[in-house]
Symmetry: C2
Subunit: 336 residues, 2 copies
């Protein structure tokens, strides 16, 4: 049995999901030889230390750690003072400066701890530096959850399509945009009406610009370019057009001619824009789904579809990354 | 560098693909630390032995090994007399008695050699025995290419969705049926007309019953039930309805109401039958595509789509299985 001591940084929606999933999957993990123990949780209000393992029910009902924290240590102090092997970083994304996640990741990797994250910001802002730090300290940096949520994409390419050369990836990486475009096409709603519906259902934020202007998708394109295509891309290198200018009339016309309109991110082309995809083709999926078509030299086109977000779904992608580190799938280590 | 000495048994369409792909990917495999050397090729006419490695161009232009073989050894004698670590079994499928593949696999596993195959027959007829033999001899039995060709399904579940409990799988596992149903819906063709077109294009056999009666799909359902759900299922345990009774009128009516009709195999339900799937949902893909929706407890529904057949595509799935054995992904070994 391999013991893995985990520090969690960030205790929002995804953080709660991670605590819940680690608890639910304790037995299954034991069956594959992994004893995953959550030894600390840190948010902006403080740290909850539990060297023998966090008991999920003691903290899950609390929205933040306020009143639960038994220490005022910040993440860096936690990594330096307690016995932990791996850091799960799930603080909020900022794609301009990457903080506070970037600092947490630099600290953790420098101290020889594996990092698993759902936080896009640090990877968009400073991917190369983080990857080099991981290599230098012989630890893993895993981020499946940053692109397409629970939809397996990076791991699918690294582990399952390993004999292939990847020629390109084209995908729907934002569930909010997909929902709005789907409803505009189905119900002939104008853009603003579909957006309001998405907001009422919790699929879109009060300020939706991050999603509908294509910013979120562009961040994912940058991460794929850096990780799969070994490029050195920042957010500003991606050419972006959002969905705010699309009319229901154009969607209806496209549908009549056998096409759906989707907001598509493309690598290595580094573009985000509304594109026509043939109805009945694997990218023509509706609702809040994400999808990615992977173009390969041997296997043709492989498409994968799944939910792009969700508390438990994102935590599941994080769990899968953790398992892969300890089951010999750590690509960098293997390749060296 | 790990040297892997490979014996290939079966030299039809897929066998040729394997020879070609091993040659094309020699350098890439070297970069990940694998020296894959093909040391023998056997078909019903004899064996071509090349202890220093088969040179692809020496045999690729020959449809069989007749006139090329330098030995009359059968597969079993080859395994017993030459230095090889892994057998790729790609003889034609027979889902009644599983031969000759079943004998080849039993021999190879008993002699302590890993087996990678695209041959459904042996796995439908005697899965339990083969898996036990592999376990007893501490070798791997890998068969991604048997279900959905190049579409990653078994490996996706074993490697990427590892934290999940798999609740069920529902999929399109036969490209011939999907092509026929797609053309009937698109062009309002009657069944026989669409079948003839598929035969002319090489998508359907002269005797199409194996595909259109659902036999092929049922074999794949049995393999998934045995491998993913740990059941003990034979072909006869699957309830099967094919597509020969479907009319274009029913497809058009379904389309008007927002559905496509697909031949769907389902596990653990053990059924194969035409079913309605909503247009715009991930299983509503056309042409010769295969697709599988994987229902999980944590990640929701993940759907994967790809080409179900093809020489290079199938060989690519075989290569991916080979790599997984030597990169620590051998699940049985890891779990013990």
């Amino acid at each position: 049995m391999t013991e893995v001591r985990i520090s969690l940084v960030g205790y929002g929606v995804v953080g709660h999901g991670v605590v819940e999933v680690l608890e639910r999957k304790r037995q299954l993990m034991g069956e594959i030889g992994l004893d995953l123990t959550l030894v600390s949780v840190t948010d902006h209000t403080g740290t909850y230390l539990a060297p023998d393992g966090v008991v999920a029910k003691d903290i899950l009902d609390h929205r933040t750690l306020e009143g639960v924290a038994n220490s005022d240590m910040a993440a860096r102090e936690v990594f330096g003072s307690i016995d932990c092997d791996l850091v799960v970083e799930v603080t909020p994304t900022n794609i301009v400066h990457g903080q506070p996640g970037l600092g947490h990741m630099v600290d953790a990797l420098s101290m020889g701890k594996h990092v698993v994250t759902s936080n896009k910001g640090p990877l968009v802002v400073d991917y190369r530096r983080l990857k080099d730090l991981a290599r230098k300290n012989d630890v893993a940096l895993k981020f499946e959850a940053t692109v397409g949520g629970t939809m397996p994409l990076i791991s699918l390419i690294e582990r399952t399509l390993v004999g292939n050369t990847i020629l390109g990836i084209r995908g729907i990486f934002n569930g909010t945009c997909n929902y709005i475009l789907t409803r505009m096409a189905e119900e002939k709603y104008p853009y603003n009406h579909a957006l309001t519906e998405a907001q009422e259902l919790g699929y879109a934020e009060a300020d939706p610009s991050y999603d509908v202007e294509g910013v979120d998708t562009a961040g994912k394109v940058a991460i794929l370019a850096n990780s799969i295509f070994d490029m050195d891309v920042k957010y500003g290198d991606v050419e972006v057009t959002g969905i705010t200018g699309i009319t229901p009339e154009s969607l209806i016309l496209a549908h009549k001619r056998g096409y759906a309109v989707k907001l598509i991110g493309e690598v290595p082309a580094l573009t985000v824009k509304p594109m026509l995809v043939p109805l009945g083709s694997p990218l023509a999926v509706g609702s809040t789904l994400n999808a990615a078509a992977i173009y390969t030299d041997l296997s043709g086109t492989i498409t994968v579809t799944g939910l792009g977000a969700g508390r438990i779904e994102t935590a599941s992608a994080i769990l899968s990354d953790i398992v892969s580190i300890y089951r010999g799938n750590h690509v960098d280590a293997q390749r060296s």
